[in-house]
Amino acid sequence: MVADIALSPFITNPENLEEEMMMKTMSRKGLFALAMSLGLIAGCSSTGETMEEGQAGAAGAESGEQSGSTVYGGGAEDGISSSAMSESGRQQAEAAARQAEQQAMREITTFYFDFDTSEIKPEAREVLIAHAMFLKANPGRNVRLEGHADERGTKEYNLALGDRRASAVERFLIVNGASRGQIETISYGEEKPAVMGSNESAWAQNRRVELVFE
């Protein structure tokens, strides 16, 4: 995890290298603890594609399919009961474990971003896929994606930035199985910080998209 962050392949703009490194360093402690507690370390080995702006949709779709197929295949929680009885209890146990794991992952509803970016971090992908799976499995459920920015920079630009972060997550969810009708996005910009304060730690926690299920 630490090495992955340090060697983050997501840095596409060398201009932002220093800043992004700083952001990562500052925010990684909290995230790391969170990830550890949820057994998310495995997720850190996800593919390291970049989300270039403008290609974000296409790239998201592509990678979404890729990661969807590689990581989760076509398997879903519902199909388990119809599998052959000849399958051992080991499979059942595995499925149950996976379900538990996914449910645990879905406990995570806040996703963090680097300064002035709307790229979904690699460690967030597994969780978002779990959410997409859930939405796909529960067409009746809706989710509101609330995009936020830290207090730095201008209010209107931060609104747009929150909007873009929410949109990035929205696309990722759709690519991974959710339907557009289930999702609503809203940007609050810098208006609703999660943490008060004008420091790197607060800022890192305020640059986020929150998933609110209704």
């Binding site: 920079g153 609104l159 747009a160 909007d163």
Partner: protein, 438 residues
């Protein structure tokens, strides 16, 4: 007739004298010429003598004090504290220039206010100390309830007499305050005098209120309100309190900016996928998309001529300011210095744009000379936002952080002394300076 003739004789004599002087000058060695290309790096010392009063004045509305504060706020003046004055003349006859000179004062404002019924009449005179000359004298009156307006009027006149630019002290400010009330956020859209006084709440909401923008006639405000749970743009008529919902599209509805002719509004919408700047015809509500790029395009603001727009876009990687003449013309990048330049505001002469500029990790207000491309950082504070220019182009108000709270600060448009508006409870943000009100 005789006077006319006398004048012409004097003119003739002057001409002869001038000729003689010119000849003498030419004969003599080249006269020494000293060029002064820099002025004092400080505000003009001016003495606003407490006005003599007769009759009961409304409490808390000391005219000379309001004038003193106005002049201080402009950043261009350094009023003398009354306790340092050697005398307190109320009329020009009592002004002893030597005294004021000794105190280093450039100008002296003296006056007297008299109450007659519910009207207050002020008589005031402004003197140039070094030239020992009266440069302004006027009598003005207002109702008792409008003493502050009277004082701001005097400030405007004094300001214009000294600087050659009309004052903007009789204009208003719109801004948003944010307080935590019982653990809940309380957003309030307020309108006040430029000194923050006489503030009136126009809208109250638990959800964010953002980006107030004045109509060119100063009678309406457009703003973003989340009161419906989603961002929407409203037009608010100040006199009646009547509100109109202007835009509530899917996604973003932000950054309203009234056109100079008052007939259309710039908006940032993301209804077509990502943030773009649109123009809405206010009569027909018809939308014209002005930008079209996969990057963020927002914070549109009009050219002074109302033709092209300046806006913020991160198409180059980070937010920078661009200019676009029309929907189909190429966007021209304006800012290059630094990796974060956003929320432009053009001055009325089209000479400068003012914007938020990141430097050394902090955000400052900067301005760029559009002719030379030269950029100067105007503020020394570190989390500066929302620059808004006074209608005379001489003062700039912006939001900054002070002791963990957002406050409003006024500076002179070239970066002169900062004047913080008296802070209310909580945060004060998103200031918008009104046009000249008539």
């Amino acid at each position: 007739m005789g006077q006319h003739r006398q004048i012409s004789i004097i003119r003739f004599a002057q001409a002869i004298l001038l000729l003689a002087v010119m000849l003498a000058t030419q004969v003599a060695r080249a006269e020494l010429l000293i060029r002064i290309t820099e002025g004092a790096d400080s505000a003009v010392p001016v003495a606003v003598v407490p006005f003599a009063t007769s009759g009961t004045m409304p409490p808390g509305n000391n005219i000379s004090r309001i004038v003193r504060d106005d002049l201080t706020m402009s950043g261009e003046f350094r009023p003398l504290q009354p306790d340092k004055m050697l005398s307190l003349p109320a009329t020009g006859a009592d002004v002893h220039f030597r005294d004021w000179r000794m105190l280093g004062q450039r100008f002296v404002l003296v006056g007297q206010a008299e109450r007659q019924g519910d009207r207050i009449t002020a008589q005031y005179e402004l003197f140039d100390v070094n030239q020992e000359r009266r440069i302004l004298g006027e009598t003005a009156s207002a109702s008792v309830n409008s003493v502050r307006s009277l004082a701001h009027h005097i400030s405007d006149k004094v300001y214009e007499a000294i600087t050659g630019v009309p004052g903007a002290f009789s204009t208003r400010l719109a801004y948003v305050t944010l307080q935590q009330v019982g653990g809940e956020p309380q957003y309030r859209l307020q309108v006040s005098d430029v000194d923050g006084k006489r503030a009136r709440i126009r809208l109250e909401s638990r959800e964010p209120i953002l980006s107030p923008s004045w109509s060119p006639d100063g009678k309406k405000l457009a703003y973003v309100s989340f009161e419906t749970g989603k961002p929407a743009i409203f037009i608010h008529e100040l006199a009646s309190g009547e509100r109109t919902l202007l835009a509530e599209f899917r996604g973003l509805n932000s950054a309203p900016a009234w056109s100079p002719d008052g007939r259309s509004m710039l908006l940032t919408l993301s209804r077509d996928g990502n943030a773009e700047v649109y123009r809405m015809d206010l009569a027909t509500r018809e939308l014209t998309r002005l930008t079209n790029h996969w990057a963020i395009d927002t914070e549109g603001t009009w050219d002074p001529d109302g033709e092209g727009i300046y806006f913020t876009s991160d198409r180059s990687g980070g937010p920078q300011i661009y200019h676009k003449q029309g929907p189909r013309s190429e966007a021209e990048r304006i800012t290059f210095d630094g990796r974060y330049n956003a929320r432009p505001r053009a001055d009325s002469e089209g000479k400068y744009i003012y914007y938020v500029h990141q430097r050394d990790g902090g955000f400052h207000i900067a301005r760029q000379n559009l002719d030379t491309g030269e950029q100067s950082t105007l503020t020394r504070t570190g989390a500066d936002e929302s620059p808004s220019l006074s209608p005379n182009g001489r003062m700039l108000i912006y939001a900054t952080r002070e002791n963990g709270r957002s406050v409003l600060t006024v500076i002179s448009a070239d970066g002169g002394a900062a004047y913080s508006l008296p802070a209310a409870e909580g945060d004060v943000r998103d200031p918008a300076w009104s046009p000249i009100l008539r």
